[in-house]
């Protein structure tokens, strides 16, 4: 869990994002975001890495299925710009394939987490009272179990594939968005337009999705970017513990931890490229998140 996610819950419900210039049109936010050079740089990095991972293999063909032990750990040079790894895969091509899995899992897990968290949090906050208390205590209980401990257990029971990783990481990550959206919902439910909708007989699910969720969109969007960053680090940690995806599929975390076995052989090209890719992506998502938060005028200590 990143700092953003940790501290996101500390701000209290006294500064809901909706109190910020909520009536400002999207264009103002877009401009505010575009003025934030760091955030734009982060966005550029994410786009570049996504293109690299998904379009790259179309331009740069490598065999990422069959191992070639005769060509293992070749130094970077002609034919292999980043060398080859310990079973002879071209490292640059591997970086692309690994990037695909990394980004797929990260975006997928963030989507699952946001979906679960928004539905749970908005419902709890809208209902209020006992139901809210109970639903939030469930969140507290799950939050008390450190993500990696729960993930180790889940990854041992369910053998990891891309889909399984998405679900497993998403299921451990939805708690912070749930708390945040619940905080928003608590204040939004007393707004005149929500009360008006209720008096007119609009059904609660409609109110929750049409009014509560749409008005919490800033908080949701900001947290989603932090979720992606978190998921990348979590999956890397899981891969390091040997609970990632099995070969020939790979991800940057798995590449980095495999490469670390060869630190003392001096095979720097096995560790630094995937390691730097992870750091770059996570930094980039955090910068985007910070930029979005400023653009939406949310409290600096909230995500």
């Amino acid at each position: 869990m990143s700092l953003e996610n940790m501290t996101a819950t500390l701000g209290g419900a006294d500064h809901p994002g909706a109190d910020a210039p909520a009536e400002a049109p999207g264009r103002v936010r877009l401009r505010a975001f575009a003025d934030n050079r760091l955030a734009v740089a982060g966005l550029a990095v994410v786009i570049a890495l996504t293109l690299f991972a998904f379009i790259g293999p179309l331009l740069y063909h490598t065999d990422q299925i069959h191992t070639r032990l005769a060509a293992e750990t070749l130094r970077p040079g002609p034919g292999h710009p980043l060398g080859t790894d310990n079973v002879g895969y071209d490292q640059l091509g591997r970086l692309m394939v690994g990037g695909q899995t990394t980004l797929e899992v990260a975006f997928g897990a963030a989507a699952v987490a946001i979906l679960l968290g928004v539905v749970w949090g908005a419902t709890a906050g809208y209902l209020g009272g006992f139901a809210d208390g109970l639903m939030m205590r469930v969140v507290d209980a799950l939050l008390a179990i450190p993500a990696l401990f729960l993930l180790i257990f889940l990854a041992t029971v369910f053998k990891p594939s891309v889909l399984m990783l998405i679900i497993v990481v998403g299921v451990t990550a939805w708690l912070v968005p749930a708390r945040l959206v619940r905080g928003e919902a608590l204040s939004l439910r007393n707004r005149e337009y929500v009360q008006a909708a209720r008096t007119m007989g609009v059904r609660p699910p409609t109110i929750i999705f049409r009014h509560i969720v749409t008005n919490s969109i800033g908080t949701i969007l900001v947290n989603a970017t932090f979720q992606v960053a978190d998921a990348i680090l979590l999956v890397a940690a899981l891969s390091f513990l040997g609970l990632g995806i099995s070969p020939p599929a790979t991800n940057w975390g798995a590449m980095l931890s495999d490469g670390l076995n060869y630190t003392y052989s001096g095979y720097w090209w096995l560790t630094y490229p995937p390691g730097i890719a992870i750091v770059l992506t996570v930094v980039a998502f955090n910068l985007i998140g910070d930029g979005l938060r400023d653009a939406f005028g949310l409290d600096t200590r909230r995500g």
Binding site: L3, M136, P146, I152, F153, A237, S257
Partner: protein
């Protein structure tokens, strides 16, 4: 204060109960049900039936839960057939070591992060703030295991300053060779500082924008006095809650660190248990770590309430939490 305490403690109790329900659900997620998962695939139906009867797993679910919960409360966390000893005694050996490792690292991280964050806030938007911000940003975007292995590479292998393996054996041996603790502690501390200092920075920035700061300054108080006497005091009390909230994050980092340095705490324990599919131990660790986190954040909240009376006064004490 009494009302706050009662409210917060009863909440923590409910959360603890829910943690136990989660563990119980996990127990039933096990492949083939708890009995098969724990006894192994070669268990005969008779074995399974005997195991279920012995562990109260033959009744309806609520009865099973009750049987399991009363067992847990009386210290029976199950038996590890892999380690051939009760889970509770394994945990009793390992838990103090993890608490020790995480404890020192957190204290160090706070001692370093507070001045760093304060300095950054004061030097806001100058070159040194940017440098520190960049370093902390990169640091907390780096996988903890890579930080650990880079530390080993530089400080243990190249410079021979510290051993790359943590002390083994009983709790008391931890103190026998303090230099062996340096790298594990440094890993967790570095990752945690990165997170804390950003929080301290924004917390101090919030305080610096307050009227009382301008008031004190306009009355002629020096920046140093205002910072130390007013700002720091107000900015630090939220840091106490940060400690509570960040416990799960720190324990996840501890798990990785223990694995890298072969430090015999609960993190290494659950990692080894996962390799050997030793489910009773895994569930025991998750339960104990979850309970510790609940108690930790309860303590943090109580300390916060002692430091900051406004927290006690807010009737809706659970707002946003």
């Amino acid at each position: 204060m009494i009302r706050f305490l009662a409210r917060r403690c009863s909440q923590a109790l409910v959360v603890l109960l829910l943690v136990s329900v989660i563990i119980f659900i996990l127990l039933h997620l096990l492949p083939g049900g708890p009995a098969r998962a724990i006894l192994g695939t070669h268990a005969t139906p008779t074995n399974v039936a005997a195991f279920n009867k012995e562990n109260g797993l033959d009744g309806p679910l609520p009865a099973q839960y009750w049987h399991w919960l009363t067992g847990v409360l009386s210290g029976n966390l199950g038996f590890s057939y892999v380690l051939n000893q009760p889970v509770s005694s394994v945990l009793a050996q390992r838990l103090p070591k993890t608490a020790f490792l995480a404890g020192i690292s957190v204290v160090l991280a706070v001692l370093i992060a507070v001045p760093v964050g304060l300095y950054q806030a004061v030097r806001r938007a100058r070159i040194d703030d940017y440098v520190v911000t960049t370093v902390t940003f990169v640091l907390y975007s780096t996988p903890a295991f890579w930080v650990a292995l880079l530390l080993i590479d530089v400080l243990a292998v190249r410079l021979h300053l510290f051993p790359a393996e943590a002390p083994q054996g009983a709790f008391s041996t931890l103190f026998g060779d303090p230099s062996a603790l340096v790298l594990p502690v440094a890993t967790i501390t570095l990752v945690t500082i990165a997170a804390y200092s950003r929080y301290v920075r924004s917390s101090v920035l919030d305080e610096l924008a307050q009227d009382y700061v301008r008031m004190a300054r306009s009355k002629g108080a020096g920046l140093r006095v205002v910072l130390l006497r007013h700002v720091l005091r107000n900015a630090l009390s939220p840091v106490v809650t940060l400690l509570g909230v960040s416990l799960p994050f720190i324990l996840s980092g501890t798990l990785i660190t223990e694995q890298v340095f072969n430090y015999p705490g609960v993190g290494l324990l659950i990692f080894n248990a996962a390799e050997q599919q030793d489910y009773p131990v895994m569930l025991g660790v998750v339960l104990v770590v979850g309970a510790a986190t609940v108690v930790g954040s309860l303590l943090a909240d109580i300390v916060y309430a002692i430091l900051d009376p406004r927290v006690r006064a807010s009737v809706n004490g659970e707002a946003g939490r």
